[in-house]
């Protein structure tokens, strides 16, 4: 019999722990608290008296207790609010009945889905009775789940509180059509980031736990889910506990459903189904935003957000703003902020916002109070002439958003930054001190784009030939200090959030300003994938794609200059990209252009840029992608200029003249994948790359003048002083991710505009910097 691992695991201790400690210690406390009854149960089999609200054994009259705050989501009479196959589900005797017979069998598991909402952080209590002479009879309760329409109308995937007639699996946490067995009866299990299962503790002998379950009688299942921790009880006994650290596999939200299993005839009944939603903010682990674009794949999706919701987004307000002493260079000023949710500092744990100023400055700001913690100014004396000579496209200074390495030792985070002189710096988030001497990386005065960090290698790419240097993709191997490179690549690679990196470590980016001629080693106006050679550390080309009209794109300067977004979709790793022509491309990272390198999975029609302009029109910046609670994969593209007159979406929000966000769903059709138009946002003054958090799409119009030529001035208009004079101010929007409806806007609160900036979101706060050196923090007041 496995003993509990918690050292002082008395009920009294556990209660003290529960009241005193948040988050991590809550886990230990809940384990202690819940282990106590189980430990007691080891001495004696369960009796009905020990089941909360239970009647005499076998009486069937198990009533729910402690119903405060719960909603009954089954009315006992009808299937209103429930969606299932009427051939197998019905209401009888105030129960939901699922039944198969010899005459009416099931070939695959089917589910009845609750359509009244989703389960995010919640508590669920229900009673079930499984009646079958077949010991293989099986059922379960799905939560935080999604539908799989390709597999059938009522087929679900996700967490399941398992039920079986033999009570071998009853009480375990299973993942239907996913990772399978997670926490078996009697187990407290952690799923690690790499998907491995780690046993944390034993919650009791499975054989003993089994004795608490009444065969062919009513039993109560009770599930508590908070963040990545799920606890299951059966008849008042904790039977399994799951800590899900698998960021790729876990779910934060999803549908609730009841299972009817395929196989020999069986009958399952459910009653007294009670649900309570729980506010997740009290004990949630703070989220991070450690890299531009949110993560190495650049989906711009903050998956850990639980504060801002579509319901409370209207309550967003300006929490603070701070003006920093950075001097702009040309039109560059502040780069996108990075957020460390909890960094250990001398003054205790802090949530820290790191902002880069183009004039070789780093700033750390207390996210709670909006006050400056430290400033770091890099020494660029080796750069020499620092006057503005490169023009608007080559401002000098720092142009690459740094990247922050995840915690290694006790909450320590490392900022990796490339300064004006091309050196790589490693800086402690807590205090701004160097963690390593600056290291040679790339030539000075260039124009690298946002850094990406993957498996101890820092990736970036450069553009515009700034400093007179060729445009290259770079990879700094932190372990060996070798720098791999690939290029040159035409006029460069200038996706706003730098390169996107796949799960296999392939770095993807769009290219522009060059012809497409792979036979001659020319890869302009396409997408390239390069990968570090594990032995030599060189960057090698492994895949490439160019649209079939690449020659046209080159002729009209319609670069593929958008950072792609990479995501998983039904077992495949896909990628979306765009460009100034104003199309979105869907690709499979297995082979992004197919055998001929010219065939993506799907290419949209033109969303905008009907006039075929190289400036002030097209998709600019970066893509975004997220999955909603029903399992639908979304793709978002920001575009400038008027919408194309022929492009339509089911949801539109007025005329678009200056820019908007276009939203698509990834769907299957005719045996292939497509991007189905879903909605177009309201008009925005130069819509910039959006970020997504908890079903809310944050987007902004930069207010920047993007004019590069006028009839009177020709290309002389493309000067900083002219464009600055004609820029206005940025506006931040919160949109409903499902519909594009505007939930909130910053109105006139932001008084300046920005160029080559970006959004960051973490822990209920959204950050945006402007040309005048001000960092704004909007969010829900907590």
């Amino acid at each position: 019999m496995t003993s509990m691992t918690s050292p002082t695991c008395s009920v009294r201790t556990a209660r003290r722990s529960v009241t005193a400690a948040p988050s991590v210690t809550w886990l230990a406390a809940i384990v202690c608290l819940l282990a106590a009854p189980a430990a007691a149960a080891r001495q004696a089999p369960a009796t009905s008296a020990q089941v909360p609200g239970a009647g005499k054994p076998g009486s069937g009259a198990v009533t729910a207790d402690n119903a405060a705050g719960f909603d009954a989501i089954f009315d006992g009479k009808t299937l209103k609010g429930w969606d299932g196959d009427a051939a197998f589900w019905r209401v009888a005797d105030e129960t939901i009945v699922g039944e198969t017979t010899a005459e009416r069998p099931l070939k695959a598991n089917t589910f009845i889905v609750w359509r009244g909402g989703t389960t995010k952080d919640f508590e669920l209590k229900l009673e079930y009775r499984i009646s079958t002479t077949n010991p293989a009879g099986n059922s379960g309760v799905q939560f935080r789940s999604s539908l799989l329409p390709d597999a059938g109308r009522w087929v679900m995937r996700g967490y399941q509180a398992d039920i079986d007639a033999a009570n071998t699996y009853t009480g375990q946490i299973y993942e239907e059509r996913g990772r399978g067995f997670l926490a078996r009866p009697g187990q407290a299990v952690r799923v690690a980031a790499d998907g491995q299962l780690k046993l944390l503790a034993s919650l009791g002998d499975p054989a003993v736990l089994k004795t608490f379950i009444r065969n062919r009688d009513w039993n109560q299942i009770h599930v508590i889910a908070r963040g990545n921790i799920i606890v299951e009880f059966v008849n008042g006994h904790v039977t399994s506990l799951l800590v899900d650290d698998d960021t790729q596999g876990r779910a934060w939200d999803g549908l609730l459903g009841l299972q009817l299993h395929a196989g020999p005839p069986m009958k399952i009944e459910f009653r007294n189904i009670l649900l309570k939603h729980w506010d997740a903010t009290a004990t949630s682990q703070p989220a991070d935003w450690l890299t531009d674009g949110g993560n190495p794949k650049r989906t711009a999706w903050q998956q850990e957000e639980r504060t801002v919701t579509t319901r409370n987004a209207r309550d967003i307000e300006l929490l603070w703003k701070i003006t920093l002493d950075n001097l702009p260079r040309e039109m560059h000023s502040l780069l996108p902020a990075l957020v460390v949710g909890r960094a250990s500092t001398r003054e205790g744990p802090k949530q820290i916002v790191v902002v880069t100023g183009v004039s070789d400055n780093l700033y750390a700001i207390d996210a709670e109070r909006g006050v400056l913690l430290w400033t770091k100014r890099f020494d660029h004396s080796s750069v020499g002439d620092t006057a503005l000579r490169g023009g608007l496209m080559c401002p000098g200074g720092i142009t690459a958003t740094p990247v922050i390495g995840p915690a290694t030792v006790g909450g320590r985070y490392t900022i990796y930054a490339v300064s004006w002189d091309g050196m790589l710096h490693q800086i402690n988030v807590a205090d701004g001190e160097d963690l390593a001497p600056p290291a040679k990386f790339m030539p000075p005065n260039g124009k690298p784009y946002a850094l990406n960090l993957w498996k101890n290698v820092v990736y970036t790419h450069t553009a515009q030939g700034c400093g007179g240097h060729p445009n290259m993709a770079y990879a700094y191997d932190l372990a060996t200090t070798r720098v791999g490179s690939w290029g040159p690549a035409g006029g460069g690679m200038w996706g706003r959030t730098g390169p996107a990196i796949s799960s296999k470590g392939v770095m993807y980016t769009g290219t522009g300003d060059g012809p497409w001629d792979p036979e001659r080693g020319l890869y302009g106006n396409g997408i390239i994938g390069v990968q570090q050679n594990p032995t030599t550390k060189a960057l090698e080309l492994v895949d490439y794609y160019a649209p079939s009209n690449a020659a046209w794109l080159f002729k009209r300067d319609l670069d593929m200059q958008v950072t792609p977004a990479i995501f998983d979709h039904k077992g495949r790793e896909l990628m979306v990209a765009g460009g100034k022509e104003c199309r979105v491309y869907l690709m499979d990272t297995e082979s992004i252009g197919g055998d001929d390198h010219r065939t993506p999975l799907f290419r949209t029609p033109l969303l905008c840029n009907e006039g075929v302009n190289f400036a002030s029109a097209g998709i600019w910046g970066a893509m975004a992608s997220w999955v909603d609670s029903s399992g639908t994969r979304w793709v978002l593209a920001p575009f400038w200029g008027p919408k194309h007159s022929a492009y339509k979406a089911p949801g539109e929000h007025g005329d678009v003249t200056s820019g908007a966000i276009a939203a698509f769903k990834v769907e299957e059709r005719d045996g292939g994948l497509q991007l189905t138009p879903a909605w177009i946002s309201r008009d925005m003054n130069r819509a910039e790359p959006p970020v997504v958090a908890n079903g809310v799409v944050f987007a902004y119009g930069s207010g920047e003048s993007t004019i590069q030529a006028t009839p009177e001035l020709g290309l002389r208009a493309n000067q900083a002083d002219y464009r600055i004079k004609h820029s206005t101010h940025a506006v931040l929007y919160a949109l409903d991710g499902q519909t594009g409806d505007e939930l909130w806007s910053s109105g006139t609160q932001i008084t300046s505009w920005n160029h080559w900036a970006g959004l960051s979101v973490a822990n209920g706060r959204v950050y945006l910097g402007t040309f005048d050196g001000t960092l704004y923090c909007f969010g829900i007041k907590q």
């Binding site: 496209m393 080559c394 091309g422 290291a439 040679k440 990386f441 790339m442 030539p443 515009q464 030939g465 007179g468 240097h469 060729p470 290259m472 770079y474 060996t480 070798r482 720098v483 791999g484 490179s485 690939w486 290029g487 040159p488 690549a489 035409g490 006029g491 300003d513 060059g514 012809p515 001659r520 080693g521 020319l522 890869y523 302009g524 390069v530 050679n533 030599t536 550390k537 060189a538 960057l539 090698e540 079939s548 009209n549 046209w552 002729k555 009209r556 300067d557 670069d559 006039g611 075929v612 190289f614 400036a615 029109a617 590069q708 030529a709 009839p711 020709g714 290309l715 002389r716 208009a717």
Partner: protein, 505 residues
């Protein structure tokens, strides 16, 4: 977005300074392509004998440019601008003139009208004959160079870069690009060539020049057709102008009497000082493409009474005159290099082609060659094959006749080359990368006209490579132009056709 200093910017800048940085040789800038009126586009990235012969060359688009066009006043072949970066984007433009001072700029990739306007809206309509109406269709020109365009050096140019490759630096020493920093030199932009004549402040955008029926010379912003500066008086109103050309800050054009008050002669307008010089001819100016400019700036013009006159640039003072006598000239002169000489050729009414040495014009004994059928060729095309053979192409009544220029005892002369298939009143051909393009105009002298047909011929053999079949539905009179992989024909119903190799948009 391309960084400043790249090739695209250079192309744009080449049109920025008025007259100081003439258009690159590859653009069709005036009637007859270049200052010498050769009608020869030296190199093209897409057009060749092999590519035109193979499937693919086809009608790309057609645009009804003007609804008022008639057989007597067709749209002009476009003057071309291969690349300009404007407020609407990167554009390849063609500038077309149509009756009643109608000027149109067309996106030659998409066949879309970029802008259009009517010049001189208050000017009276052309009176008198259809010939006058035709003559005062607006004439376009872009600034060009008196020097011979560069010889072909390969298939097109383009902005091909260096091949990408993989590399890795030494530990601790950064990227290889850092290691190579000391050996890389940033190319400094070259200073623009010196401009003779008074200094004119540079414009931030290219312009195209056009004459309106009221005799004013307009400088139009190529991006939107607006006047870049106030129109300048150049000719008397309602003049019949031919062959507007702008070289070294001077605009030249020929006029023929009988329309308006302009006499026969050549006109020169200094763009800086706005001063106008005139040379008057006793007889009509011959040919359709106006005066030809030699590499030293000398202005050459032919008359219908058989004179070939060399005029000083700017002042138009006569330098030399060759009197051919006989039937008189029908074509404008064409100037070309041959061996170490600069020669001039022109076609005469009796079918002879006169070949003259520009340096000994007055005392030259013209080399003639009898063209068996009488012909009224309005212009002569000239090109040089890669092996150095110089060709002259002349339209006659029912075909194109090609002649070689050869040396006989040290004296250049002409010998027959080839005769094309039959055509109906062919227009002066153009040559692109070894391919002759010519139009069977469909115009009969005594019969109703028929639709025009564009032919592509092997320039060294005359063999037909391709034809446009029934693509065009009207006869043509205005002529051809070409470049950037495309050939343009304007028909008498006001339609502009573009032929070439399709590019997916």
């Amino acid at each position: 977005m391309r960084a400043p200093g790249g090739a695209a910017a250079l192309v744009c800048l080449s049109g920025v300074l008025v007259g100081a940085n003439p258009a690159p040789a590859q653009d069709w800038t005036t009637a007859g392509y270049d200052a010498q009126r050769s009608s020869w586009v030296r190199a093209d990235a897409k057009i060749s004998r092999d590519s035109v012969r193979a499937p693919g060359f086809q009608l790309l688009w057609k645009v009804k440019v003007d609804v008022d066009s008639t057989q007597s006043s067709a749209v002009t072949p476009p003057v071309l601008l291969d690349l300009v970066i404007g407020h609407r984007g990167f554009r390849a433009l063609g500038f077309v003139g149509a009756p009643s001072d109608h000027v149109v700029a067309i996106d030659t990739d998409l066949g879309r009208v970029e802008w259009e306007r009517r010049l001189a809206p208050g000017a009276p309509s052309a009176g008198g004959s259809p010939a006058c109406a035709r003559e005062i269709t607006p004439d376009f020109a872009r600034s060009t160079n008196a020097a011979f365009p560069a010889p072909p050096g390969g298939r097109g140019g383009g902005r091909a870069g260096q091949a990408a490759r993989s590399a890795v630096g030494e530990p601790g020493l950064g990227a290889v690009t850092l290691a190579q920093l000391g050996t890389r030199r940033t190319a400094a932009p070259s200073a623009p060539p010196k401009t003779p004549g008074p200094h004119v402040p540079p414009r931030p955008f290219p312009v195209v020049y056009v004459l309106s029926s009221d005799g004013m010379l307009h400088s139009l912003n190529v991006m939107n057709g607006a006047d870049a500066e106030a129109p300048v008086p150049f000719l008397p109103p309602q003049s019949s102008a031919r062959g507007l050309i702008v070289v070294d800050d001077v605009a030249y054009v020929a006029t023929v009497s009988g329309c308006g008050d302009a006499p026969n002669g050549v006109w020169a307008l200094e763009l800086g000082s706005k001063q106008v010089a005139t040379w008057r001819s006793a007889s009509a100016i011959a040919g359709s493409v106006g005066p030809a400019i030699g590499p030293d700036g000398t202005v050459y013009v032919t008359t219908t009474t058989g004179e070939l006159v060399a005029l000083e640039p700017r002042t138009l003072k006569p330098r030399q005159t060759h009197r051919a006598g006989g039937a008189g000239f029908t074509s404008s002169p064409v100037v070309f290099e041959h061996a170490a000489s600069v020669l001039i050729a022109a076609s005469a009414r009796d079918g002879r082609i006169h070949l003259l040495d520009s340096h000994r014009l007055a005392s030259s004994k013209a080399t003639e060659s009898l063209n068996s059928a009488s012909v009224a060729a309005a212009a002569v095309a000239s090109w040089a094959a890669p092996d150095g053979t110089r060709w002259l192409l002349v339209p006659r009544a029912g075909a194109i006749v090609a002649w070689k220029v050869v040396d006989h005892d040290g004296v250049p002369t002409i010998q027959p080359g080839w005769v094309s298939r039959d055509m109906i009143t062919p227009l002066t051909p153009i040559v692109i990368s070894g391919v002759v393009f010519t139009v069977s105009s469909g115009e009969f002298r005594a019969q109703p006209s028929s639709p025009a047909v564009l032919y592509a011929l092997d320039a060294t053999t005359g063999k037909e490579l391709w034809n446009s079949g029934t693509a065009m539905t009207s006869s043509a009179r205005g002529g051809l132009s070409g470049g950037g992989g495309q050939v343009y024909v304007g028909t008498n119903d006001g339609t502009l056709y573009a032929f070439g190799f399709p590019m997916e948009h």
